[in-house]
Every structure is written in structure tokens, then in C-alpha cells.
């Protein structure tokens, strides 16, 4: 197990999540793509912490990433709830009011 190997796995997770976030129409599925991207970020930060600088700072950074995931999920569900109530749909294509 090397830093490069872990970073490759993290890059794969990030890329799969990016594909999902860009290609899915259902908002909750888009959120799942974002979560998968953050999953890759968590793994990469853990690898940097272990292989480069095993100080407590890296662990604190991981806690912040996990908190960011919590915020992302809470706000995503709130927006999905609002969209579903006002438009009867939870698809991203029904929320393109701001598109140029």
C-alpha cells in the first residue's frame, strides 16, 4: 500500500462520483454523486495524513470534510423537498430557471 496507490483509488472514486453528479437527473442521485466525490476526498486526505504528515491537523481536516458532507446532504434534501412540493418533481431538468 503506497501513497500513489491510495490516491489512484481516491481518483477513481472522485471520477465515478463526478460522472454521477453530471449525468443524473434525479436530485437525490446527483447528491449521491457528490457524496461519492467527497468519499474520494476523504480517502485522499487520509492517505496524505498517513504517508506525508501524520499530525493531528490532517484528522481535523477530515472532520471538516465530513461536516461539509453533512451540510451538503441537509441542504440537498431541503431543496429537493421544496422542488417536489412546488413543482411535483424531483428532477434537475425541472429547475432550470436560472439557465441562460
Amino acid at each position: 500500500m503506497t501513497l500513489q496507490a491510495v490516491l489512484l483509488v481516491a481518483a477513481a472514486l472522485f471520477s465515478v462520483g463526478l460522472y454521477g453528479a453530471l449525468s443524473q437527473q434525479v436530485i437525490v442521485m446527483v447528491m449521491m454523486g457528490l457524496e461519492l466525490m467527497l468519499n474520494g476526498v476523504i480517502l485522499a486526505v487520509g492517505a496524505f495524513w498517513w504517508f506525508l504528515a501524520p499530525a493531528p491537523d490532517g484528522q481535523v481536516l477530515l472532520l471538516i470534510v465530513i461536516a461539509a458532507m453533512t451540510v451538503e446532504m441537509a441542504m440537498g434534501f431541503a431543496v429537493a423537498t421544496l422542488l417536489h412540493r412546488s413543482r411535483g418533481s424531483d428532477m434537475t431538468d425541472s429547475a432550470t430557471d436560472l439557465s441562460g
Binding site: 496507490a5 463526478l18 437527473q25 461519492l36 471538516i64
Partner: protein
Amino acid sequence: MLIDILFWALAVVAVASGATVFAVDSMARATYALAISFIAVGIMLVIVGLEYIGIITILMMVMEMAIMVVYMVMYMGMNPALMPMDMTHNKRGSAVLAVGTFVLLAAGALLIPWPARVGAPAADLTASLGHAIMGPKMLAMLTISPVLFATIIAGLVIANPRGRYDRWGDDLKRRPPTDPMRGGLGR
């Protein structure tokens, strides 16, 4: 050697289950596949000594995925596993961007001359994290606290039925033309 085998097995599980999320028809299966991916990453964190972070990642994401299943069932209105339909757009462009991102990140991971490790992990990692949170990193935690509180308030304001944002149209001053129910903000 055993650690290497375990790491690669977990890596395959994490990436494969992550890809499964966007391949299966059933929303419940997709959610559970994402939970498996998070569990695999959590175990990988435990392998590198981050027991506390790895365990809370596993516990938090399993609970989060359980909630996500409920939201999926609530909002989908039908079961895609029973009525298969394509709910994607721009799959080709998304795949190209994802592959390009992976190539870029993988090239960076393999080509950058990473520096040697500086320092050594503390004897008790969880205790060192606790000391950091309650000591030099307290400002970061004090910043996260109001962010999480603001998230709670914002989530409630946005999702609140018959609240400020639950209206027809974009005119904030327009009154609802016919409102069979009394109550709500300004009604």
C-alpha cells in the same frame, strides 16, 4: 502483505460499488451500494490508523444512506426497478469529463515527486485529535458549529410547507389566488 491484499480488495469493493450506484435500476440498491463504498473507505481509514475517523465515517454514512432510502421512496413516486426508464442526461459528455478527470488526477498522483514523511503519528491518535480540537484547532470547530446551526435554520426555512419559499411563481409579493387552507407565512 496481508495489509496490501486487504487494501486492494477494499479498493475494488469501494470503486465497484460506487460505479454500481449509477448502474442499478432500484434506488434502494443504489443507496446501499453507496453505503458499501463508504464502509470500504472507512475500513481503509482504519487500516492507516485513523480508527476514530474511520468508525464515525462508517456509522454516519450508514445512517445517512438509511435516510436517503426514505427520501428516494418518498420522491420517486414510482419504482424504476419495476418500470425501467432512463433518468440521465448527457451521459457521453459526463463520461468524457469523468475519464478526463481521472486521467488528470492519476497523472498527478503518479508523476508528482511526493516528499518523505515528516514526523510520526502520536501513540494515541484519538487522544491527539481530542487535544487538537480542544486546543490549537478549536477555532476551526467553533467555525463549524455556527455553519451547522445555520444549515439547520436554512433547511427548515427552505423545506417548511406554506413558508416563505413555498409559493407559485417568482413574485414574492403576489398573493395566492385561491387558498383552500388557512395558515402559513403571510396568508
